[in-house]
Every structure is written in structure tokens, then in C-alpha cells.
Amino acid sequence: MKKLQIFLLLLLSYTTCFAQQTGDVEMAFDMRSSGKIYVVIATIVIIFAGLALYLFSMDRRLKKIEKQK
């Protein structure tokens, strides 16, 4: 009987360990719910838009030089 009790106890503790392992995975929901993630998005969108405009301006300058030839 005692053996069975210990066995069940160990078995149960195993399941709790398992539950902890596969339980809730911490995600950054707070960051999004507070709205601050939009600041990050705005920043990288501005950076990428700037880089794209820079590429477009290079494209235009090249076109001018190509026409001169």
C-alpha cells in the first residue's frame, strides 16, 4: 500500500512537471495590448520607406546618366 502511495505521488509529480513544461508559453502580449508595439512598427516602416526612397532616387539618377549616353 505504501509503495503504491509513493508510486502515485511520483507519478503525479511527473504530471505536474510535464504540465509546467508544456503549459503557457510566455509571449509578449502585454507589449501589443499596451499599444507600444506600433511605435516599433512605425520606426521600422519609416526606416524601410527611407531606404526604398533612397533606392528610387539612385534609380532615377542612373536613368539620367544612361540617357546622356
Binding site: 508544456t22 508559453v25 508595439i37 512598427i41
Partner: protein
């Protein structure tokens, strides 16, 4: 070749990448241990490699065309595509090391994927060294075109095939599904596929700009 002077696909590429910057950070992702929110790196790290494959494939295509036609312009396209590919190679490797530092515990853990990517990088560095070591133009173009044709499949095998045959930390290796797990999540496709397409076209755009500059330089040298 008119395609490279057109603007519509450049705008499309920019819009695609801009859309993934928003969707990639906002949309739901699967909750996975260890990865947590860093799973969103998938939208930015993997497209670097896809962009690299795109421009390297274009480089090989024009290397073959150079060998069949002997047109000097095709050689210039091949070099500048390879140059752009190496740039995206470095971006992919650095972002991968950054990601690995927080998920695998170290930026470089001698993972098969990392090691073979490094070997493939040297393979393409050798391409540039080979080019710069030959003075005669036609000889240089011919030898480097042949080298490029051999380098490309070896690079693909090194990065895509060999790491999958052994155990690796990288997804897609040793019975570890690559995107199979994430593909079930349709939400991720919305950001992932446009990212691959968008970044590929951005790489192509940079390659065409470099080619056009190179062409002007080449023509200037011809007159003198």
C-alpha cells in the same frame, strides 16, 4: 532586359516588404517554448536566404548565357548578382547568429547548418578572388562563369541538403520539420510568403542598380 528599367515591380517589392513589417509584428504566431516572440524572425531571417538564392540563381543563369553567346554584358550581370547575393548571405548569417544567440545559447555552436553555410560563403568569396586574379577580360569572364556554374549547385547542397542529413539545431534537419509545423498555422503564411517575394525583388533591384553602374563603367573604359 527592358524589365530592369521598369518601375512597377520595384514599387510592388517595396509594398510587399512594408506589408510584412506590419503583419509580421502584429499577427498571431504559434506559442512555442524557447522561441517565444522571436519566431517572428522567420519573416526577416529566412527571406534574406531566399533573396540570396534568387540572385545567385540569376547569376548562374547569366553565366550560362555568357558561355553560349559570349556577350560581355551577361558576364557583368553574373558578377553583380553574385556580389548582391554575398551581401544578403552576410545578412542571413549575421541575423541567424543573432537569433541563435538567444535560442541555441551561442551565436556559433558549430551546427551543421552554420558550418556548411560558412563553407558556402567561402565558396563565393573564392569566386570573387578568382575573378580579381585574372587580368585578361575574356579569360576572366569564361573561367569565372564555369566556376560559378559549379559553385551554385555545391552551395545549394551545402545549405539545403547536407545539414538535413544529420542532426542539427536548425529547423528542417534530423527529422525536425522545417516549416511543416508553422505551415499549419495559416496566419504565418500571410506574412511569410510576401516577405520571401518582396525581399527577393529588393535583392534583384539592388543587383540591377549595380549592373547598370557597372555597364556605364564598362562602356566608359571601352571608349578610352
Amino acid at each position: 532586359m527592358k524589365f530592369i528599367y521598369q518601375t512597377w515591380w520595384k514599387i510592388a517589392a517595396v509594398l510587399l516588404v512594408l506589408s510584412t513589417l506590419v503583419t509580421g509584428l502584429l499577427f498571431d504566431v504559434p506559442k512555442l517554448p524557447i522561441l517565444h516572440e522571436s519566431i517572428r524572425n522567420l519573416y526577416f531571417h529566412v527571406p534574406m536566404w531566399i533573396a540570396m538564392f534568387t540572385v545567385f540563381a540569376i547569376s548562374v543563369f547569366y553565366s550560362i548565357r555568357y558561355l553560349t553567346t559570349g556577350k560581355e554584358e551577361y558576364d557583368l550581370i553574373a558578377v553583380e548578382s553574385a556580389n548582391t547575393g554575398i551581401f544578403f548571405f552576410v545578412l542571413g548569417l549575421v541575423t541567424g547568429m543573432m537569433w541563435a544567440n538567444y535560442t541555441w545559447g551561442a551565436p556559433w555552436s558549430n551546427d551543421p547548418k552554420q558550418n556548411s553555410a560558412a563553407i558556402a560563403f567561402l565558396l563565393y568569396c573564392a569566386y570573387l578572388v578568382l575573378r580579381n586574379s585574372i587580368d585578361e577580360e575574356q579569360k576572366r569572364a569564361k573561367i569565372s562563369a564555369i566556376y560559378n556554374i559549379f559553385a551554385f549547385p555545391i552551395m545549394v547542397v551545402l545549405i539545403m541538403v547536407l545539414p538535413r542529413l544529420t542532426d542539427s539545431l536548425h529547423p528542417g534537419s534530423g527529422g525536425n520539420p522545417a516549416f511543416g509545423k508553422y505551415d499549419l498555422d495559416n496566419g504565418m503564411k500571410i506574412a511569410f510568403y510576401p516577405a520571401m517575394l518582396g525581399w527577393s525583388f529588393i535583392a534583384l533591384w539592388i543587383a540591377t542598380l549595380r549592373y547598370r553602374i557597372r555597364l556605364i563603367e564598362y562602356k566608359n573604359n571601352e571608349i578610352n
